[in-house]
């Protein structure tokens, strides 16, 4: 790698303003000087509407820890779209994401991806990972929430005979339950794993009461718990653990941190994984609070004043050009929130997307990387 970089620096004299990678990309699409890429090596259809996509990442990727996720970029009608997906393979193995067809991007990934395709990548991250020291674990998953937990189970169970894992895995039917067969096989093979399937079509929604959970896992209170699934599922789990923590309050000093953070919120011994918490809720013609992150300013903006004007009025050093949407000199990355293109009325809310501030107004709270 070091040698490659040195070589690239020497050849840059011949390739400027491009890089050696730009020319190598003619022969292998994984090369890019700017954007981490991976080539799809295998696609395994898990259920009717889900697939595991294995890929070989280019330089700049680092090995994932069990439970981490990565941002994956694909092109939808020529436009790069990014979503986050959990990596489902064991730590130390080639990376793969397991995706359920539930939206425009996941639809393309599940239905259209084939070996040889290029995926755009960002290195793995996330703190929904196994505890440093082995201890008894309780995993609570619903639907595609199994993916990061599958990586944890695959990593831990076969390698650590001293591990002790109980998985409560909720799905609507056996047919839609991703990894069901593999989980059952692992549970047969390794006594340190217990799998409790919960099918909502037969038993209704999993109720997070102390009694229901105890029926499935009697010693649940003593285990470090991990939960991953839809919002409602996580909220219910959080409620139960909070109620338990409140009960314990009479006996001990509480240690409950309720962060408003996005991932890995810890409530007692429950670790949960959620992806969303976007600011798009306020989307409408009403504008919203505009935050210029690096300049450290906040301004209340209406829904029809261009963000360029808002920023300039607030004394932010805004890049600008023609002020009519043609020259693209005013582009700023959107960190979070939603903006409305005043020309088309179209609302943009993809974090990281570059927006034209001279023709975009707040459509709810906006956080800009400037």
């Amino acid at each position: 790698m070091i040698r490659f970089k040195k070589l690239a620096r020497v050849t840059a004299a011949l390739t400027t303003p491009l890089t050696a990678e730009d020319f190598l990309a003619l022969f292998n699409p994984v090369y890019s000087s700017r954007q981490l890429r991976g080539v799809v090596t295998r696609v395994v259809h898990e259920t009717e509407d889900s697939a595991t996509i294995y890929f070989r990442p280019g330089h700049g990727w680092h090995a994932h820890q069990a439970g981490q996720w990565a941002r994956i970029g694909v092109e939808l009608n020529g436009v790069r779209q990014w979503r986050s997906y959990s990596l489902s393979t064991a730590a130390g193995h080639d990376p793969a994401i397991t995706v359920k067809d539930a939206g425009a991007v996941s639809h393309v990934l599940v239905r259209d991806t084939k070996p040889g395709d290029v995926l755009f990548l960002a290195p793995p991250q996330g703190d929904f990972v196994l505890p440093e020291h082995p201890r008894s674990l309780l995993m609570l998953t619903a639907g595609s929430g199994i993916t990061p937990v599958m990586s944890m189970i695959r990593t831990l169970v076969p390698r650590r005979p001293d591990a002790n894992v109980v998985l409560i895995n909720s799905n609507s039917t056996p047919e839609t339950s991703v990894f069901r067969e593999e989980l059952d096989e692992l549970a047969d093979q390794f006594p340190n794993l217990t799998v409790r399937h919960w099918f909502t079509s037969a038993r209704g929604r999993l109720q997070f009461t102390a009694r229901t959970i105890a029926d499935l896992c009697p010693d649940w209170r003593s285990r470090a718990a991990y939960a991953c699934g839809p919002e409602g599922f996580l909220d219910d789990a959080e409620d139960l653990w909070q109620r338990e923590a409140a009960l314990e309050q009479s006996r001990t000093v509480p240690d409950v941190t309720t962060g408003a953070d996005t991932q890995g919120v810890r409530t007692g011994t429950l670790t949960i994984e959620r992806f969303s918490t976007d600011l798009t809720a306020g989307a409408g013609h009403d504008g919203g609070l505009v935050t210029f992150e690096q300049s450290d300013r906040e301004v209340q903006a209406d829904g029809d004043t261009p963000l360029l004007d808002i920023g300039e009025d607030a004394g932010v050093l805004m890049p600008s050009g023609c002020r009519m949407g043609i020259c693209h000199s005013c582009l700023i990355p959107l960190r979070a929130g939603a903006v409305r293109d005043l020309r088309s009325g179209e609302v943009h809310n993809t974090p990281g997307q570059l927006i034209q501030t001279c023709v975009s107004a707040a459509a709810g709270p906006v956080n800009l990387d400037l």
């Binding site: 004299a13 954007q35 020259c327 693209h328």
Partner: protein, 381 residues
């Protein structure tokens, strides 16, 4: 307050400028407003269609260009053999023309920003041209495209060097008009780099010393890189085969060919007979419709084959490019049919012609304006 969705910027949808240009004098405010709406609709139609096939197009062009550049420079390493010299020089010239025009110019306009690909984006792109991309974006995108052909505002009218409009006051210096242009053509990229430094603006106090230093530093770095690539590194590697000198001639020729071509095409954009220039009164109070009118009657197209359009980076569709500078260039041909129809219907000139005719027309103007304006006949009689 919450409002209806409007077109952006400082331009009003209705109203009129202080003075409407002669070529559009016959139009009422309502007609100009309607024309603006029609052109907005042309743009919206393309935006709705733009997608995977357009993205595939630009990637194909970039791949072709890089392959040509790679093969051309590689072949020049053996240029002591005559056929290798010709083939290498030809491929490198083509690659440089494509890189500057169909790719560089258009990417730097943000025509491909909608793909959200950081590898093909107006904020990250740098080109094989002496002037740094950011400096050029300022003088070209911000100033020229906004103030197209407004005398006193758009310095692209003659690039501070040539007298290109009778409204520019004549000075004895202008006698050299044709000579300056002939010298400029083969070294066009250096002329643009100098122009983008905005030295007159700096002297007039319109550009700060800090900005000047920043631009000087950027262009200095770029000059060293560009110069050493073509005139040092490539010949140095070619010396391994004993082709050092020939490779140097090859890169010199490729740059000169690209410069001649770019100069010819770009001068056909706004200078041929039939294009209008404007006074500041004519843009004061300009509506969106009037802005479109100014872009159309201030620009000129080049007619020709598909290959011709491609090799000009679709600047042969200068009129369409000026109306919609950030639409992807591969769409200008279909836009042109509609724009031309709109011009005809509203009785507006639509200047176009084959390359030799447009180049001839531009040179004729350069010769003519080397001399002071001829006084109206009545006054001389």
């Amino acid at each position: 307050m919450t409002t209806t969705v409007t077109r952006p910027g400082a331009l009003a949808a209705s109203g009129h400028p202080m003075v409407r240009p002669d070529a559009a004098k016959h139009l009422t405010d309502a007609q100009v407003e309607e024309l603006g709406r029609e052109l907005d609709a042309v743009r919206d139609e393309i935006l709705a269609k733009r997608g995977a096939s357009d993205a595939a197009y630009i990637r194909r062009v970039i791949k072709l260009q890089r392959s040509l550049e790679f093969a051309g420079r590689g072949t020049l390493l053996f240029s002591k053999y005559k056929p290798a010299w010709f083939a290498g020089t030809a491929m490198l010239s083509l690659a440089k023309i494509m890189e500057n025009m169909e790719i560089g110019h258009n990417v730097l306009h943000g025509q491909w920003d909608w793909m959200r690909d950081p590898d093909i984006h107006s904020t990250t792109w740098e080109w094989d041209f002496v002037t740094p991309a950011r400096s050029w974006q300022h003088t070209h995108n911000d100033l020229h495209h906004r103030w197209t052909n407004v005398i006193g505002k758009d310095r692209d009218v003659g690039y501070n060097l040539l007298r290109m409009d009778p409204d520019q006051p004549w000075k004895p210096f202008n006698l050299g008009n044709p000579l300056y242009n002939a010298i400029l053509a083969p070294i066009f990229e250096w002329g643009i780099a100098l122009y983008d430094l905005e030295i007159p603006e700096y002297k007039e106090g319109l550009k700060s010393k800090a900005d000047m230093n920043r631009d000087l530093k950027a262009v200095g770095v770029k000059v060293v890189k560009q110069f050493s690539k073509d005139y040092a590194a490539t010949p140095a590697v070619a010396m391994l085969t004993g082709s050092g000198k020939q490779a140097l001639y090859g890169t010199l020729a490729a740059n000169a060919i690209r410069n001649f071509w770019a100069h010819a095409v770009i001068f056909c954009g706004h200078f041929p007979e039939g294009t209008d220039t404007f006074t500041e009164e004519e843009v004061d109070g300009e509506t969106r419709g009037d802005w479109y009118v100014r872009q159309m009657i201030g620009s000129a197209n080049i007619s020709g084959s598909k290959l011709m359009h491609f090799m000009t980076g679709n600047l042969s569709h200068q009129i369409e490019h000026h109306c919609f500078p950030d639409l992807p260039s591969n769409r200008y041909a279909e836009v042109a049919v509609k724009v031309r129809e709109i011009c005809t219907r509203y009785g507006l000139p639509y200047t176009t012609g084959p390359l030799p005719k447009q180049v001839g027309s531009t040179w004729a103007k350069i010769f003519k304006l080397a001399l002071p304006n001829r006084k109206p006949k009545a006054a001389t009689a």
